[in-house]
């Protein structure tokens, strides 16, 4: 691929930093703020793009694993629907990002319904609570790592690199 995605991102950042920003007067505050955010987003995208499909597929696999952990202990009223949803999720082609995102919405929506338990009418087994917390902890770590470049995470020094996370 010529020019490469990395080169094009780098070129855009250079143009924004060296041409667009200096052309804006101090009065153009909104424009300056937004150009700086554009640069920040582009730097982050440069770190992420090659891993994007694998990252989302990993999120999806983690969600399927959560559903499978829930399956033996959910209320019988949900058991069949959850089993079907897991089967459908496993049939999704993992390389198609849009398809994966769509499948996350479908399976995640059912998991949400089970957690809410018809607005508290259906009890959740302690094992489900633990499974959701474990999943939440792992997924939060992945997403914090993915977006660490924003600099907003107070504990970002403890996070691995994106490449390190994806390799692990």
């Amino acid at each position: 691929m010529l020019p490469s995605i990395d080169l094009r991102i780098s070129n855009i950042i250079k143009a924004l930093e060296q041409v667009v920003l200096p052309a804006l007067t101090g009065r153009e505050r909104l424009a300056r703020d937004q150009v700086n955010l554009c640069i920040g987003h582009l730097r982050m995208i440069a770190q992420q793009w090659r891993w994007a499909a694998a990252f989302e597929a990993g999120s999806f696999q983690a969600m399927i694993a959560l559903a499978e952990e829930m399956q033996p202990v959910v209320d019988p009223g949900y058991a069949e629907e959850l089993a079907q949803a897991i089967a459908s999720a496993k049939a999704v082609e993992g390389r198609d990002l849009a398809e994966v995102e769509h499948a996350i919405v479908a399976l995640g929506g059912l998991i949400d319904r089970i957690i809410l338990g018809e607005d508290g009418k259906v009890a959740l087994a302690p094992a489900v609570w633990e499974a959701v917390l474990d999943y939440g902890e792992k997924q939060a770590l992945r997403e914090r790592t993915w977006f660490a470049a924003t600099g907003l995470d107070p504990d970002r020094q403890e996070l691995p690199s994106i490449a390190g996370m994806m390799a692990g």
């Binding site: 554009c38 987003h41 607005d119 009890a123 609570w129 907003l152």
Partner: protein, 397 residues
């Protein structure tokens, strides 16, 4: 620790509050949230230009005050504004050739938090003379004249972070106050105490409603508010957010004595003058409501709003060590902090932030309904920080 939910479901009722009644919330909040969904399809929204702002203001002052020969000048967009479009401007007219410096604070079609300018105006007026707050010049609560809900405030001089310092960030996050902290911390704590001591019963707060004392309604109103924001706008399911909602409903504490809560009193939301450090304004009252004082304390001590000293000490809002802050607040307010309630509201606030970042911000940006969609996606990238907080806080609760 594992929670056996069947024990909670079978537990006798603590009070008459139905923790799953999603309709139980402040009426004005309900109106704002319903309006958000109704208006969402009107987008996309573009940032207003100076000339558009001038035309809007000229029409507004002519219609609302009958001013003649109106001149709007020196229009300057103000910094920050992840939520509202804000412009400083000077108003001159036939009866005032000198001019008045004012601030227009106006809703975009959809913001990171959807709130009421009428409530904001009322709470500004209520706190005039108690805390430094901007004066209210005019309010168009539903945008009937301006075209968009708006409040016009008196201009206040000051800065939200030191002009020269080592840390600056989006919406004040990450600001380091360093040597300024000794001057600012006492005023910050006093402001919190003053807000909580305020006699809201004797003020004109007709846009507000108060939860019933001695019940869980204060907490449930907040859960209902933010869970409706989530379900009205959810872009992608997040199991931890749903989990937290159920936990918050089933662990809601009783609020013995509801107080006025600012709900966003943190670094970046007060202005001070340099070099004295004297507060000139407490800002951003848009989330204010009557509720449990623990909510404000839990908000202030969030890790995202704090900084660390070089030796690793966490400073609440970049100002003061956590234990010292809690002691100083108790002394200033006369309130006694209940650690269980404080932890509950830490969970609630992490939930609220997750809903704002991963729910409302993502929905507004997806619809292209904000003047700064790019800030919304930037802040949304911090959503997982709150998911991690939810896991940690609930495990420790």
């Amino acid at each position: 620790m594992a929670i056996d939910m069947s024990e909670i479901i079978d537990a006798p009722p603590i009070d008459r509050i139905d923790i799953w009644n999603r309709d139980d919330m402040e009426p004005r909040i309900r109106e704002i949230l319903d309006r958000t969904v109704r208006d969402r399809v009107k987008g996309p929204y573009a940032a207003k230009t100076d000339s558009e702002v001038i035309a809007m203001l000229e029409r507004y002052f002519a219609r609302t005050e009958g001013l003649e020969a109106i001149g709007i000048s020196d229009v300057a967009r103000m910094a920050g504004g992840a939520s509202k479009e804000q412009f400083a401007f000077t108003l001159r007219h036939k009866g005032d050739g000198v001019g008045e410096r004012l601030v227009l604070r106006m809703d975009p079609l959809e913001a990171i938090s959807q709130t009421c300018r009428g409530r904001e105006a009322q709470v500004h007026v209520a706190f005039a003379g108690i805390l430094p707050v901007a004066s209210v010049r005019s309010v168009d609560a539903d945008g009937e004249i301006m075209g968009q809900p708006a409040i016009i405030l008196g201009f206040v001089n000051g800065v939200t972070e030191p002009s020269e310092g080592t840390g600056h960030g989006v919406s004040g996050i990450g600001t380091r106050y360093d040597d300024w902290a000794a001057k600012l911390a006492p005023q910050f704590i006093d402001a919190l105490a003053q807000v909580h001591r305020f006699d809201w019963r004797s003020a004109d707060l007709s846009y507000y409603a108060a939860p019933e004392a001695g019940t869980r309604q204060a907490a449930i109103w907040q859960v209902n508010w933010w869970s409706q924001v989530w379900w009205d706008g959810v872009v992608q399911p997040v199991a931890m957010v749903t989990y937290a909602e159920r936990w918050l409903r089933e662990h809601a504490p009783i609020c013995d004595a509801p107080v006025m809560c600012h709900s966003d009193l943190r670094l970046g939301n007060f202005m001070f003058e340099e070099p004295s450090g004297k507060f000139t304004a407490v800002l951003d009252w848009e989330l204010a409501h009557i509720g449990d004082f623990h909510e404000d304390i839990a908000w202030a001590i969030q890790r995202l709003f704090g900084t660390w000293t070089d030796d690793g000490t966490f400073l609440v809002c970049g100002l003061i060590a956590r234990d010292e802050f809690l002691r100083a607040y108790e002394a200033a307010s006369g309130n006694r902090i209940d650690p269980v309630k404080l932890r509950y509201y830490e969970v609630l606030n992490a939930y609220k932030c997750a809903v704002i970042d991963l729910g409302q911000a993502m929905r507004a940006a997806t619809q292209s309904n904000n003047h700064q969609d790019i800030i919304l996606t930037w802040l949304g990238s911090a959503g997982a920080v709150f998911l991690e907080q939810l896991v940690m806080l609930i495990r420790e609760a």
